[in-house]
């Protein structure tokens, strides 16, 4: 795939992050803590999957116009290897317990909200339209996940401990969201302090705090992933890899 045009990489980065966290959340389907929350997390999964489809379709269109290729949303999602995926490391991390699942969503959704607000003002009308449509969904994801962070953080002794563990585990993967890649079109440094304020306010209400001076992992945005992504892709891509173009 010819990715000389950095804008194509940026679109794939957006698509990949939404797809990979959707795939992770999708693992909760029929395994949620209770029926009602099982439906809530899978609704969010479908929102994220919808976002990724919009980005993949648009990326495929732009790629084909530029290179005369014949990519589709499916080839981009199912026929690219681990090193081609540009999602945040945060998105591919395992679900762990419910605390870890909702904290990952919280950290990601808060970032997505800020990023998509910027994208919705983009000169690229198509990108702006996708961002605008997604923002309403993301607003709910932020509300839902914030409430869970507060509920568990300020809950029982055990739920508080689990939240602390989740934040300690996930926090070192948040720095990557603000490290610019060659293809980024938004000034991420601007978003960082707003994101941190927002996240800190919720954590404070949840009687939790941000870990101090943590080493930050990076690499996802340029295709260097944790050991977890390969397994995720193996499961997600198996059918299309084994029977390319299969439909049902």
């Amino acid at each position: 795939m010819n990715l000389k045009n950095l804008y194509h990489s940026f679109l794939l980065h957006l698509a990949d992050s939404s797809l990979i966290i959707a795939q992770r959340n999708g693992e909760c389907c029929a395994h949620g803590p209770i029926l009602e929350q099982d439906i809530a997390i899978t609704n969010i999964t479908l929102d994220l999957l919808g976002q990724s489809r919009n980005f993949y379709q648009y990326a495929a269109q732009r790629l084909n116009e530029a290179n005369g290729s014949s990519e589709t949303e499916d080839t981009l999602a199912y026929h690219r290897g681990e090193r081609d995926f540009k999602n945040f490391l945060l998105c591919e991390l395992p679900n762990g317990d419910w605390a870890q699942t909702i904290t990952r969503q919280f950290l990601f959704s808060c970032f997505q909200q800020l990023l998509f607000e910027k994208l919705s003002k983009s000169n690229d009308e198509h990108l702006a339209a996708i961002a605008n449509k997604s923002l309403k969904e993301i607003q709910y994801h932020v509300k839902w996940s914030s409430e869970w962070v507060i509920r568990l953080g300020d809950g029982t002794e055990e739920s508080h401990e689990r939240m602390k563990k989740a934040i300690d585990y996930l926090w070192p993967y948040t720095g990557e969201m603000f490290m610019p890649a060659t293809y980024d079109i938004i000034n991420l440094e601007d978003l960082k302090s707003i994101w941190l304020n927002k996240v800190e306010a919720v954590l404070q209400e949840a009687t939790l705090s941000v870990p101090a001076n943590t080493f930050m992992h990076s690499g996802g945005k340029s295709g260097v992933h944790t050991e977890h992504l390969g397994f995720l892709l193996a499961e997600m891509q198996y059918l299309q890899r084994t029977y390319p173009g299969a439909e049902w």
Binding site: C28, H31, G32, P33, I34, L35, E36, Q37, I39, A40, N43, N95, G96, D97, W98, Q100, T101, K143, W144, E147, R151, T156, E158
Partner: protein, 122 residues
């Protein structure tokens, strides 16, 4: 015979070999969350109609759960929830004295006079 069933929740399933009779107390169980009745208004101007019930820890969560469970196919534009324990219901044993006396009182139906054409929606 007494069967001891241990319920495990998502993310809490122990490693193989460690599957002893560990009591998974301390985890919130479905039964510890109260039941809520959900009423949905399908569009402006219509009444809220009973849609079903669900479990939630508090009212805010009940409304969000109702949004996720009962409005995901555009069924509604407004949600009411009320904890089921606050609904007082008539006793089925009272059915005879409550409802049967009305069955032979046709004069209570507004069918004994002609409505002017101008009156609509009756």
């Amino acid at each position: 015979m007494h069967i001891n069933i241990t319920k495990y929740y998502y993310g809490d399933i122990p490693d193989a070999g460690n599957n002893n009779t560990h009591e998974s107390t301390g985890h919130s169980t479905t039964s510890s969350w109260p039941l809520w009745e959900v009423f949905i208004r399908s569009k402006q101007g219509l009444d809220h109609k009973h849609a079903g019930s669900l479990h939630a820890a508090d009212a805010a969560m009940a409304i969000e759960n109702a949004r996720d469970v009962y409005t995901r196919r555009q069924e509604g534009i407004s949600i009411w929830v009320v904890e089921s324990q606050y609904i007082h219901a008539s006793n089925p044993d009272d059915a005879e004295m409550f409802y049967e006396p009305a069955s032979d009182k046709v004069y209570r139906h507004p069918t004994f006079y002609d409505l002017p054409d101008e009156v609509k929606h009756m």
